[in-house]
Structure formats: structure tokens, C-alpha cells
Symmetry: C2
Subunit: 298 residues, 2 copies
Amino acid sequence: MEPVSTEQVAAFRRFNRYFTRRIGVLNDHYLGQDRPLGEARLLFEIAESPAGVSLRELRSRLGLDAGYLSRMAKALQAQGMVRLRTHPDDNRLRMIELTPAGRVEVKEQNRRADTLASDVLKGLTAPQRQQLIDAMATARRLLRLAAITVEWVDGHAPDARACLDAYAADLDARFPEGFDKADLVRPEQVSGDAGAFFVAYEEGRPVGCGALRRLEPGMGEIRHVWVHPDARRLGLARRLLAAIERESLRRGWHVVRLDTHAVLTEARAMYRACGYREIPAYTDHVYGQHWFEKRLTG
Amino acid sequence: MEPVSTEQVAAFRRFNRYFTRRIGVLNDHYLGQDRPLGEARLLFEIAESPAGVSLRELRSRLGLDAGYLSRMAKALQAQGMVRLRTHPDDNRLRMIELTPAGRVEVKEQNRRADTLASDVLKGLTAPQRQQLIDAMATARRLLRLAAITVEWVDGHAPDARACLDAYAADLDARFPEGFDKADLVRPEQVSGDAGAFFVAYEEGRPVGCGALRRLEPGMGEIRHVWVHPDARRLGLARRLLAAIERESLRRGWHVVRLDTHAVLTEARAMYRACGYREIPAYTDHVYGQHWFEKRLTG
DNA sequence: CATATTCTTTGACTTTAGTCAAAGGAACCT
DNA sequence: AGGTTCCTTTGACTAAAGTCAAAGAATATG
């Protein structure tokens, strides 16, 4: 991979500096009213789970010390913002949820944040606003993509199975005829010499996968390329594909094939854009209605 | 002006949240080594002024309490990072500047920040990197523009004169024949019924100006439209122009004219893009080589 | 020249943010 | 049933961040 130019690094940092000074600071100080930042952040995080969250969950989400969190929770309770209860199934866990007053408070803070954002945008004309929003969306998309890593994992790994389960559920909802999990590759088909399995992680969370397995000598098959709904439209599928192709080449499988379902039109478009060409049926797979092939060059 | 759509506000906040979580947090914690954040920030701010700054200046720039700053300065001095001296002309002021060791430290922190930025960019392909940098540049440009306000000020106001002085110095450097300050409008020509003066402010600092004065009944003349070098390429000149035109219309001067120097080619392009058309000479102004006119419609 | 103002330093606080360890109750494991 | 693990609470800290007011020195102002 090419080195990063110093000019790009400088531009990146220039934006970071300006942005944190302009927006970052404002947001935090302004929002919390007279509540300390830690409490305000906690309140917001609790609001994310309307049905209530365990302290344990909050602790790992916000990376807080147990004692610190316990005290902040108590403080919010004293202010009437939250209610604390023990978990119905596990008396060790404490569940925390907003009271009506807490919900009002969060709503008010959100309103204030909206006003702030709106005030910034008001300084621009309508086309400029759209341009800003578009630029931010692009920047966010690319920042997210930059933070996602594609990693090789064993076909038996829990993350691999979790992705495949989500993949299966996804297809089951999209295929008119549903999807039978029996069609998924078995762990041993994508382990060792038989194949490989890749999982994409965003901040520790699996958000996509893709499998490679041996089809015949010198030829691999790509299966189960899937991206979590939250991580779509980032260009992640291409990254997964690239990782699989690299691995295929490494093994000396210079041709890869795949089949895909008729309803997955975006997938077809992507494969074409990535250099795959449609070929005649090479399987009589239940869910295969389009077949593709690509000759890899390293 | 059109109201801001809630979808745009939501997108704006989405970016803010993501960005501050991803970048904001990292930057601060990582950089400071084992120095407290406040001191690290102070060190960086001092580094911005290689010739030294007064504590007073730092206090207003960073919005710190006098006592707090005094103590932090002492701490940095004890660490050998800065040198404190009294101002040569005013013994009340203390000047602070980096020692060689301080400069090394800042350099090291900068190197670390560069590495951090570079690490993020490394996760992208070369075209994606450029796309991210471009999106950030666009976002920054528009955020800055949104923060700039154009205000009516009296022609005698110090900010008005400061802008005109900078304008004159600027032109003096760019015109082959130099620029004579006697050519500037006199304050009374742009005050009251005779005309108006506008200054653009970015975070309290004047960064541009523009004047309107009566040429003949029903006709105004635009003069001295200028933007500070730091604030160019933001689209600020157009904003100044728009403010002047609005004021002209308000006064019932339905036609505005202006002249401009041959070397200012960007200015000419902008006037054309803003609906001005070139007309025959209406003055025999020393620095006028192109003449423009626009009929205003409200 | 006296008085007001400006700027910095110092002492004496407070609040936030965060850490660590001990302890108690509940659930899990064998 | 007994030990282990898990989760939360509490007490006892520390460091950072920030506030307020008094005091002292220098400068500006009438």
C-alpha cells in the first residue's frame, strides 16, 4: 500500500483541530446544563435503551469503573432521572432505566443540540447546506471504512457462526422462497486446506463476512459475502472480496467462481464492477440463479 | 432564508457524534504523554507563537482563569518546557516562550499526532484517502463560512479602518504600480446617507470588508471588497457582495457599479459569476481598468 | 500626584473524574 | 453443599480542573 502523503496528514489534522474546537467543545459544555459531563453522557447512554440496561452493559459500553458508575447512577437516581431495579432473572445485575422526568430531560438536551446544529446550518444557503451535509456523510463513510478491519478467522469461531446466522436470517427475509440454513458452508469446508473464512470488525463488533472454499484444483468458490445492515454502503463488500481473492491467489487458485440469487441485484452489480463476468451455470444450487467467474492476477 | 430540514440537522449531529467519539477522544488523551491535558493544550498554544506570547493573550485565547494559567505556566517552567520573562515595554505583562526542550517536546507530540492521523488514512486506498481529505476540506470550508457574519459598521469604526489598511497593504503588494492609501474612501463617504460599510467577522476577528457609496441618484458604487488571505476561497466575497447589494436596494439605488484593477483576475471572474456585466469606463480612476454594472432586483 | 486600572501571583477552596480494594449477595459449577 | 465467579456497593483515596478573592507591582488617567 502506498505511503500516506504528509500533505494529506496535515489536511486531516487541520480538519480535526478545527472541528473539535468549533463543534466538539460546544456540544459537551452546552448540552449538559449544570450536570457534570460524566452524568450527562451516562444519561444519554441510558436513553439509548428505552427498555432499560444493566449497569454491567453500561460499564463495558462507556468503559467506566464499577464504583464510579455505581455512584453516578445513584446521583441520577437522587435527581429523579432514572429508576434502578434488579434484573428479574439474575439478582446480581441492576437494571437502570429513565423515569418520565429523565425522558423529558433527554428530550430537552436533544432539542438544545438540534438548535445548536440548526444555528450552524442557518449561516449557509440551501445548496451550501446540502454540500456540507454531503461532505460530512462522505467523511463519515470513509472514516468508518478506515476503522474496519478484515480478519481471517477459523470457520468454527463464534464470530464466524454469528455472521452466518445473521446472513441466513437476512436472506430468509429477502428470498421469496425463504432460506434454509442447511445451505450454509460447514465449518470444516472453510478451514485448513479446504478454504478460509473472513470476518470484518468495526470497533470489535463483527459487521460482515465472506468465505472461500476449494471448488476443484486451481479453482476457488466465494460464498456468503455478507455485510451487516448498519455497515452497508461503505464499500465493505469490496474489501471482503479483495481479502478473499488475495487468499485464493496465495493458495494458487487462480480462478474464483460464485453464484448468487436473482433478488440480490446490488450484489450482481458489485460483482460486475469488481471484474467478475457472468458465466453459464456451474452448479444446480437451490439459491443460485446467476453465476460469475473471475481470473485472478497477482 | 429557508428553514433547516430536520433530516439535515440529524445528519449533522450524526457526524458530530461519530467524529468526536472516534477522533476527538483519541487526539487529546494520546498526545499529552503523561502531561495533564490542560498543560499539553497550553504548550501547544504557546508553540503557535514562536516569538513568545503574553499570559494575558493566552488567557483570552484559551479562556482560562488567571490563577489557573499562572500555576500551569509555573509547572511548565519547572519542567523546563518554557521560559517566563517580563514584557520589555510593560512590566505588568509576562511573556512566555518555549525553551529548546519545549520545542523538542512539541515536535514529538506533533509527530505522534501525525502517526495517529496516518494510521487512520492507512486503512483506505489512495483514491479513498483523497476523497476523505476532499470531503473534510469541503466541510471545513463550509463550517468556517457558516461561522462568519457580515455586519454593518460605521465608516469610522476601528475595525473598518483596520480592514482598509490591510486592503491597502494587500493591493500595494499586488499592483505593479503600488497602491496609494489616498485612494481609499473617507469614513464620511460610507456613513449615513452617503453610503455604508460592512465588515465580515470570524470568531470576533475582522476578516473582510466591503463599502457602498452613492455615485449618483438611484445608483451606488461598490468599493473595497476585500477578504483576508486566511479567509479566501470560502465564498466570503460573494456574501459581502450580497450584503452590499441588499443595502443598496434598501436605499432605492437599483443599479450598482464598480471598477477593478487588471491584475485582479479572480475578482473579475467573481463579479461576472455574480451577475455583473462589463461596461465602458465610467471613471478615470487610477486603479480602474475594468468597469462593471449590475441592475438589482429585489 | 493621587487614584484607578491592569496584570500576575498566591492561598484557600470546590467539583469532577477516576482508581483501588474490601465486602456482600447471587448465581454457577461440580 | 461448598467453592468459585460475577456484579454491585461502599469507603478511602488521588489528580486534574477550575473558581474566587486578596494582595502586590506596574501602568494609565484625570
